[in-house]
Amino acid sequence: MENEVIIGLEVHVQLNKLNSKLFCSCSTDYHDDDPNTHTCPVCLGLPGTLPMINKKAVEYAIRVALALGCVVQEETLFYRKNYYYPDLPKAFQITQYDYPLGLGGHMLIKGEDGERVVRINRVHMEEDPGRLVHAGTIDRAKYTMVDYNRCGMALLEVVTEPDLRSPKEARAFLDKLRSILDYLDVFDGDLEGAMRVDSNLSLVGGDRAEVKNISGHKGVEKALNYEITRQKNVRRRGMKVVQETRHYDELRGVTVSIRTKEEAHDYRYFPEPDLVPMRIADWVPRVQEELPELPDAKRDRFRTQYGITDDHAKSLTSEIKVANFYERVAGKAPPKLAAVWIADVLKGELNYRDLSIENFHEDQMVEILKMLELEAITEKGAVEVVRQILDEGGSPAEIVKARGLGKAEDDAVRVAVRAAVAECGPAVEDYRGGNEKAINFIVGQVMKKTRGRADPGEANRLVREAIEEL
C-alpha cells in the first residue's frame, strides 16, 4: 500500500492533419523536408508579426474536447507564457492556460482491476515550439541546433486528473486517446512528435516528480517504470523524493533531474493582446452533430449488431480503418466468421509485417470467408492465402488454384483413408489397443497422400470410421 503509485498525464497532441500551422499559413507537411524550410515571419516570431488564428484548428480542438466529454467554453482566449528558450523564437508561447477550451471530461479505460474512469481536467490549445537537436545528450551536449519547422504547429494539451495507478494504465489511456483521435480524423499518430507526454508520478505519501519528454504511447511504460523504481530506491535509502522536473532520456532509458521546485519558472502569464477572443459557442452544436461514432459506442454496437465477442469488438474498433473494413466485410460474409478472421488472423499478419489495413482489400477477405464457409478451403489454407496476398499480391481464387490449397474432394480423401488404414496395420492395432495417439500417425499418412489438401479434422473422423468398419 505504501508504494501505491499515483499518475497524472499531460498529453501533447499535434493536430498534424491540419493543412497549416496554428497562427500562420505555413504547411504542416514538413516531416520529410530539411530543417527550417517550413517557416515564415510569423512562426519565426520576427519583429512586427502577429498571430492569426487557424479556425480549422479551433474546430478540431472542439471536436476532441467534445469527444472526451468536456464542456466547451463560449469563446477562445489565449495567454502568453513567458520564458526564454532557444526553441521559442518569441520568448513566449501562446497558450490557453487559464481558459482552456474544454473542461471536465472523462475516459473509460481497462484498468488494473476492471474498468477505470479517468477524469480529464481540461483540453487546451497552444502552439508547438521548435525542435532542439542536442549534439549528444541534454546534460552533456556541446552545442544544440534548432529546427523551426515544427514551431507554431497546433497542439492540444489533454490533462488528466491523477487517476492512473500504474504505467500499464497510463499506456492504456494513451492507446485509447490515440484511438479516439484517430476516429476524429485530427491526428496521424505515426508521424514523429505527434504525441508527447509529460507525467506527474508519486508514491502515496510522497512528493511528485514531473517526467518530461516521453515520446508517444510506447515509451510511457518504460519511462514510468524507471521512475517508480527510482522513487522506491530513494525511499529505501531512507530519503525523501523531492518535487522536481525530470527529463526522460529515451536512449539511456533513465530520467534526469532538470530543475527543482525552487528553480520553478514564473511564466508571467497575461492575456495575449494580439488575439481578440473568438466566440465559438455557436459552433458547438454543429461540431457535436458531426461527431463520428466513437470507439466505445462502436464496440457496443458491433457486439450487439453482429453478435461477436467483446474481445473481437474491442480489437476491431481500436482503429477506425479496421472498423470500417470489418463493417464492409460483415455486410457480405458471415459477421462472426469475419470477426475471427480479421481480428485474429489479418490484424496479426499485418502487425507482423508493419502494414496497415489498406494493404488488404475487403473483397479479398469476403472471397476467403466464402471459401471457408463452403469448406472449399481449410483454415490452414486460408491463412496461407492471407499471407501470400500480403507478401506477393494476387486474388484468393488464383492463389488457391496455383498452390493447390483447395480442399480435396471427398472421394479422393476416402480413397486415401482406406489406403492408409490398409497400409498401417501396426498403428491400427495400437489404436485398437487404446493408444489414441496412434490415430495421428494414420491421419498424417492421409495428409501426405492428399498433399495436405484434406481437412485434418475430417480425415481424423474418416480414419476412425474406416477402422470401425474393418
Binding site: G48, L50, M52, P273, D274
Partner: protein, 472 residues
C-alpha cells in the same frame, strides 16, 4: 500639399524631387533619419519617370518611422540590439502605400523601441527640433515629425502608443494623427505595447493626413484587432463645424499647464466658436489615474514583446558564443539602452506571480473606467479639444535624467490610447518661438469628424503655414 506635389512630380521629374530631398537630408544636422534608402529611392524615381504608375500617392516620397518593418531596408527601432536586421517582409501599411505608388526615402529616428517623449533614447543620438536645434523634437516619432517640419520629407508615418505621433507633431508644428485602435493594421509594426498602439500619419496639412489615413486604414486579416471600416476620410472634409459641440475637459486645463499653451488652446476654442461651433466643459474624472495605468500596461506588454531580442536569429551579436543563457544575457545587456531596460524590469515585476493582480489587472480596470469617461463625454459632445502637450519643446538633456518628469509630459495623450479613441494634433500657435499643438479627440471611429473640425480650424488660422529655417 501632397496633391500639388503629386502633380508637380507627374509633370516634372520624381528623380529631381527625390534627389533634392536626399541632398537636403544629407546636409541637415537634425539627425532625423537612421537610414536613407538612397539607391532604392532613386531607382524607383527613375522608373517612375520612365513609365509613371497610377495611384493615389503616385511618386510621392515618404519617410517611415524605424518601428515599421520595411522589406530590404534595415529596421532597428533605434536600438543597438536590432543593428543589421533587415526585414524580409513589408508591414501592412507599407504594402498599402506601395500599392498607391509612394517612394520610400528612408527610416526615421525615434526613441528606442518607442520608449520616450523626446527621441533622446535613440542609439543613434537625439534628433533636433528644427525650430530650435537645442531642443527635442518630441517623441517617440521625433525623426518623422522633424523631417516633415524641416522639409526633409513631405509626409511620414509614425506610431503612437501613448502620444508618440501627437507629441512630436505638437513640438514640431505639424499635423499628426493617431487613429482609433484597430483602424490601421499593426502587422509589421514592431510591438512596444500592442493593446495601445496605432500607426498614423504625420503631415503638413489636415488634408494630407486624411489622404494618408485613407490609404493605410482598413481591415487586414493578419491583425486580429483590425476592424472592418469604410474609409473615405477626404469626404466632407470641408463641411465646417457649424452646430457642432466641442467638449473641454476640465481635468486637462489647470495645474502644470504652461500658461502660453493654455492661452493658445483657448484662442483655438474661440476660433471654433467663430466658425459656428459651441463649447462646454466636460469631466473625465479618472484622468488622474491614466498615467499610472498606462505605464503599467505598456511596460508589462513591453517586457514580453522585447524578450525575443536575443541576438540568436537576427540583430546584434557580440563576443564569442558561450552557453545559451550567458550569451543572450550579454547581448541584451549590451543591446538595450537604460530606458528600455528600466521598462523591461518594471514590466517584468508588474507581471510576476503575486503582483499581477495588484498592478496589471488593476491597470486594466482603470483603463475600462477611463474608456467609460470618454464614452460618457461623447454622448454630449462631438469632439474634445485639449492641449496636446502641457508645454512646448524642452531642451535636449533637460529631462532625460528624470524619467518621472518625462512620463508626466504624456498626461494629455495617454488617456486617448487607453480609451482607444482617435486624436489629432494641429499647430495652434507659438510660445516663445516654439510651436504649440492643439489636440482634437473624437469618438471611436469618428475620424471623419476629427478631420472635419481640424480642417475648419486650419482653414481659419495661419499656423500650419509657418515653417522653420533650414538647419545646416
Amino acid at each position: 500639399m501632397l496633391r500639388e506635389l503629386k502633380e508637380e512630380i507627374a509633370s516634372g521629374s520624381a528623380e529631381e524631387v527625390i534627389s533634392a530631398l536626399l541632398e537636403r537630408v544629407k546636409r541637415s544636422r537634425l539627425n532625423a533619419y537612421n537610414v536613407l534608402a538612397e539607391e532604392s529611392a532613386l531607382a524607383r524615381a527613375r522608373k517612375f519617370d520612365e513609365s509613371p504608375w497610377d495611384g493615389r500617392m503616385a511618386g510621392i516620397p515618404i519617410a517611415i518611422k524605424d518601428s515599421i518593418s520595411t522589406r530590404g531596408i534595415e529596421t532597428t527601432c533605434s536600438s543597438w540590439i536590432l543593428r543589421g536586421y533587415i526585414p524580409p517582409y513589408d508591414a501592412h501599411v507599407i504594402e498599402r502605400l506601395k500599392a498607391e505608388g509612394v517612394i520610400i526615402l528612408g527610416k526615421t529616428n525615434m526613441d528606442e523601441f518607442c520608449m520616450g517623449t523626446s527621441t533622446e533614447t535613440s542609439c543613434f543620438g537625439p534628433t533636433r527640433n528644427p525650430w530650435d536645434t537645442e531642443r527635442v523634437p518630441g517623441g517617440s516619432s521625433g525623426g518623422s515629425a522633424a523631417a516633415v517640419a524641416a522639409g526633409e520629407a513631405p509626409c511620414a508615418l509614425g506610431s503612437d502608443t501613448g502620444g508618440s505621433i501627437r507629441c512630436p507633431a505638437s513640438f514640431c508644428g505639424i499635423v499628426g494623427m493617431k487613429p482609433t485602435y484597430g483602424l490601421v493594421s499593426r502587422y509589421g509594426l514592431i510591438s512596444y505595447a500592442n493593446s495601445l498602439e496605432q500607426i498614423g500619419p504625420l503631415a503638413s496639412t489636415v488634408e494630407d493626413a486624411a489622404l494618408m489615413l485613407d490609404v493605410i486604414a482598413g481591415h487586414d486579416p493578419r491583425d486580429s484587432t483590425s476592424a472592418k471600416t469604410e474609409g473615405g476620410y477626404l469626404d466632407g472634409l470641408e463641411d465646417g463645424v457649424r452646430g457642432m459641440v466641442c467638449g473641454v475637459p476640465k481635468e486637462y486645463l489647470g495645474e502644470g499647464l504652461d500658461s502660453s499653451v493654455e492661452r493658445s488652446v483657448w484662442d483655438a476654442i474661440s476660433v471654433l466658436e467663430d466658425l459656428g461651433a459651441s463649447w462646454r466643459e466636460v469631466s473625465l474624472p479618472h484622468t488622474r489615474y491614466a498615467l499610472a495605468a498606462y505605464y503599467i500596461i505598456a511596460m508589462s506588454e513591453a517586457s514580453s514583446n522585447l524578450a525575443r531580442f536575443d541576438g540568436l536569429r537576427y540583430g546584434l551579436r557580440i563576443g564569442t558564443d558561450k552557453d545559451w543563457h550567458t550569451t543572450f544575457s550579454e547581448i541584451r545587456a549590451a543591446g538595450f539602452g537604460p530606458e528600455v531596460k528600466r521598462r523591461i524590469l518594471l514590466g517584468t515585476y508588474a507581471l510576476s506571480a503575486g503582483y499581477y493582480g495588484r498592478y496589471y489587472l488593476k491597470a486594466l480596470k482603470v483603463r475600462t473606467l477611463i474608456k467609460e469617461d470618454f464614452l460618457r463625454a461623447f454622448q454630449d459632445v462631438d469632439v474634445l479639444v485639449t492641449p496636446t502637450m502641457p508645454f512646448p519643446a524642452f531642451r535636449i538633456g533637460e529631462r532625460i535624467q528624470d524619467p518621472l518628469s518625462l512620463y508626466m509630459a504624456d498626461v494629455f495623450t495617454v488617456p486617448i490610447n487607453l480609451a482607444g479613441v482617435p486624436a489629432i494634433s494641429l499647430p495652434c500657435g507659438f510660445a516663445g518661438g516654439l510651436p504649440v499643438g492643439l489636440q482634437i479627440v473624437g469618438d471611436h471611429f469618428a475620424e471623419k469628424t476629427v478631420f472635419r473640425v481640424s480642417r475648419a480650424y486650419e482653414d481659419a488660422t495661419p499656423h500650419h503655414a509657418a515653417r522653420p529655417q533650414e538647419v545646416i
